[in-house]
Amino acid sequence: MSRFNGDACAGGPTSVGGLRPSWIRPLLPWLGASVFLGLFFFYPLARILWLGLNPSALITLNLDSLLLAVHSLGFTFYQAALSTLLTLVIGLPAAVLFARNDFRGKSFLRVLTAIPFMLPTVVVAAGFNALLGPNGWVNLGLMDLFHLSSAPISMVGSLGVILLAHVFYNTTIVIRLVGNALSHLDPRLEQAARTLGANPQRVLGLLTLPLVRPSILAASVLVFIFDFTSFGVILLLGGPGFSTLEVEIYKQAVQIFNLPLAGLLSLIQLLCTLAFSILYSRIVIRNVVTSAPRPAESNLHKVRSVRQKLFLAGMLVVLMGLFLLPLVSLPLASVTRLQADLGVRGPVQYGLTINYYTELFINRSTSIFYVPPFKAIGNSLGYALLTVVLSLALGFPVASALARPGRLGRLLDPLLMLPLGASAVTLGLGFIITFNRPPLAFVTSPLLVPLAHTLIAMPFVVRSLQPSLASIPDRLRQAAASLGASSQRVWFAVDWPIVARATLSAAVFAFTISLGEFGASSLVVRPEYPTLPIAIARFLSQPGGLNYGQAMAMATILMVVCGLGILLIERLRLPGAGEF
């Protein structure tokens, strides 16, 4: 009898023993994450604010700097608006296609359109390079077809390829949000309107569009935020001619060392994303007040009429072209010799080769600044493992605390999610201006990279752990306990199987994020310890077939590893849990 009493008391919140007062106990799970965020997020953020607002620093900015800031802000808006518009042009019909039609290959196409969202920017940049670059498949095909001596299309380095890559990235958001709203729309509403005398066009205008408008708005704002904060795509594909806020922050901080201007730009960037995020959450809250959810199946039609078939065929061509070609071009380019290696004269030996993969493991350069690819791969793996360990160690207690509803959780949760709102480049800038002086002078430490990655990965880790941990009903634990299991046995019998799965999934998530991260890394990385994405970007920017081929090979490896990671996460995910 006493054993049970003892257990019951130990579990109660009132008697924690004499050492700690009871109000500390609920705070404990938050301790690690709070200290970490305070030191590595809020403090650097405060430094950026100080840098951006500091009058004495601002005074050093000349008119050109300010014009540059205005110009890059303008271009950021311009390209984001244009990208969002194009994404809607592709995404809305695609959402209709997925929500209303049943056709063979639908699930393949859905996965295909969802993959880019999870891919690292360097992979996407390499993919579009392999498709549309000067040595891309499109140009090679056209040159071969019309016997041209030079590449007829110069997409890379133009606004067009930036827009295309943004559409490639974000169409899945429109498909998911709007498609979801469409398939949850009660089909009887439209039928009722039809019987009341509305023709199909008026049904669309008076009923369907107004009812899914909130989700279209939400998707647009979300896409706009992603386009607004886009960094890798613009830096790697746009070339020197295009500079968004993000790219300008990077240039000012890393290349020109104009930290006050970088701080000011960061501040503008933060304010903009904050405003958009507030807008987004307001739309999402309003979005909740729509018609009751229905089973999605009732909206699905088999494709029958000629018009539907034409629509399906057209969409298939567009979607396959947009999503499959860049993904296929990349691995193909990594095993094909397309141009002469640097310094090699004479006719180029075209053909298949695995040279670019084997070359990754050979250090041909004598330069001390040259880091062979296999070392970059090793660095990335090391950083990723550290990120996994750190983000799990900090995120797990928070997720378990959040899984039990409480006021503290509601209060602290938004603070924990804040790093999601700040762009990666801003995080990186915060790091280099904060940790460059004693007592925190470890800007030269390679450890900054996994710390930055942990900052980015932790919200995702918490978000993917939390629903799983919350899904364990207390009744199960009580049932196990009432059957005579001790609290440890209860944990192993009830919690562990679910927790293990969720933890593995979160770990893979953190690993994948770290492996592909480019924005923050490009600021805090040490040149002698580059990550894989940084190495890819370097190799892409250097001339010669061998460099190009090796960039393709590394990007392919990254794509495959990230793809496997995404696949594993999907497999491990609880049905219906966690989207956006």
Partner: protein, 356 residues
């Protein structure tokens, strides 16, 4: 006038409607009664033009409606879950069909007010749909369907989602509104109480066909087939053998010997269901098996009864007692016998019907 000719429609490869033919005359309220999954709603959707039949025709005043799209048929449809437009208030919902007819604003306002008054929701015009109760939503749906003056009104289990008391109240209201509007109506339900309350005529749908059609009282007292009798729960169904083929026909059953009315010819038991109850003259002979329906009502206790049995259960019903006998029959009696008591019952000729 609506006419359905030999409608066929399958669902996921199985036949659902298997040759439905029916007519709805001007001003008539027809109830389509059938169990869940019998294809009632599908038939409505075919009439509305939301689905196309695989075979057969839907005609209005002799004109085939196949080429006419949904929005030009001007058939009102009230859905089971109302399908009110969530982004419009009550008045705009009701006005929707009128706007589609491109009526003038003043005319629309007048007709909306009329329609809302008819369903007793005059002050509800500016309410949001989400603020309405189930019963109020149902009335708005009805007002919305009636406001454009459709030439036919179809109601798909409109009371299905409401609780018992509200249903009874709305049923009589619906009856009043349907009669007042004079619109021919097809009312789909699986609830015979609703059907009998509202219908001028009841159509019974079974196995994809109309197996029975008639006034409620006729359908109830003479369901014609074993399936219909059991679906309507019209009384006790027992199998018997014909022992006399000269009028009055006599049928011997395990529970007693019954005389059938002079005008009623027993129909032999067959697999095929024959529509139109009662008098189908079929070849019959002594010793053939037939099913008879023994009504539960109009039965009296008395010494010269033709059925007797030991009482095994007595249940109080508001207007009498439901008494179950050991032989499986049950009856409604005004007075409660004791359980275990043996009683004799006089079952009049009118309480016996022959089934196909």
């Amino acid at each position: 006038m609506l006419e359905l000719v030999d409608i066929h429609k399958g669902y996921e490869g199985k036949p659902l409607l298997n040759g439905v033919s029916a007519r709805v005359a001007a001003g008539e309220t027809v109830c389509l009664l059938g169990p869940s999954g019998s294809g009632k709603s599908t038939l409505l959707r075919i009439i509305a033009g939301l689905e196309t039949p695989e075979q057969g025709r839907v005609c209005w005043d002799g004109v085939d409606l196949a080429p006419i799209p949904v929005h030009r048929r001007s058939f009102g449809l009230v859905f089971q879950d109302y399908a009110l437009f969530p982004h419009m208030d009550v008045a705009r919902n009701v006005a929707f069909g009128l706007k589609m007819q491109k009526l003038a604003g003043a005319e629309i306002d007048l007709r909306v007010a009329d329609a809302l008054a008819m369903v007793n929701l005059s002050d509800f015009g500016s309410r949001r749909i989400t603020d309405l109760s189930g019963g109020e939503q149902q009335r708005v749906a009805l007002a919305r369907a009636l406001a454009p003056h459709p030439r036919l009104l179809m109601l798909d289990e409109p009371l299905g989602a409401l609780d018992r008391n509200l249903r009874a109240q709305l049923m009589s209201e619906l009856r009043r509104i349907l009669h007042a509007s004079g619109v021919p109506a097809i009312y789909v339900t699986h609830d015979q109480e609703e059907a009998f309350t509202l219908a001028d005529r009841v159509l019974l749908l079974h196995d994809g066909k109309i197996v029975l059609s008639g006034k409620p009282e006729r359908v109830w007292s003479d369901p014609g087939s074993v399936w219909a009798a059991q679906f309507l729960d019209a009384g006790n169904v027992v199998e018997g053998t014909i022992i006399s083929i000269k009028p009055p026909y006599r049928v011997e059953t395990p529970v007693g010997i019954f005389e059938l009315g002079r005008d009623v010819v027993p129909v032999p038991v067959r697999d095929e269901v024959v529509p139109s109850p009662g008098k189908v003259g079929q070849a019959h002979s002594k010793g053939e098996k037939v099913n008879v329906l023994i009504s539960r009502r109009g039965v009296l206790q008395g010494a010269q009864g033709n059925v007797s049995g030991v009482v095994v259960d007595v249940i109080f019903r508001q207007d009498g007692f439901k008494v179950t006998l050991a032989n499986g029959l049950d009856f409604y009696l005004p007075d409660a016998p004791k359980v275990g008591e043996k009683i004799n019952l006089i079952i009049p000729q009118a309480a016996i019907k022959c089934l196909s």
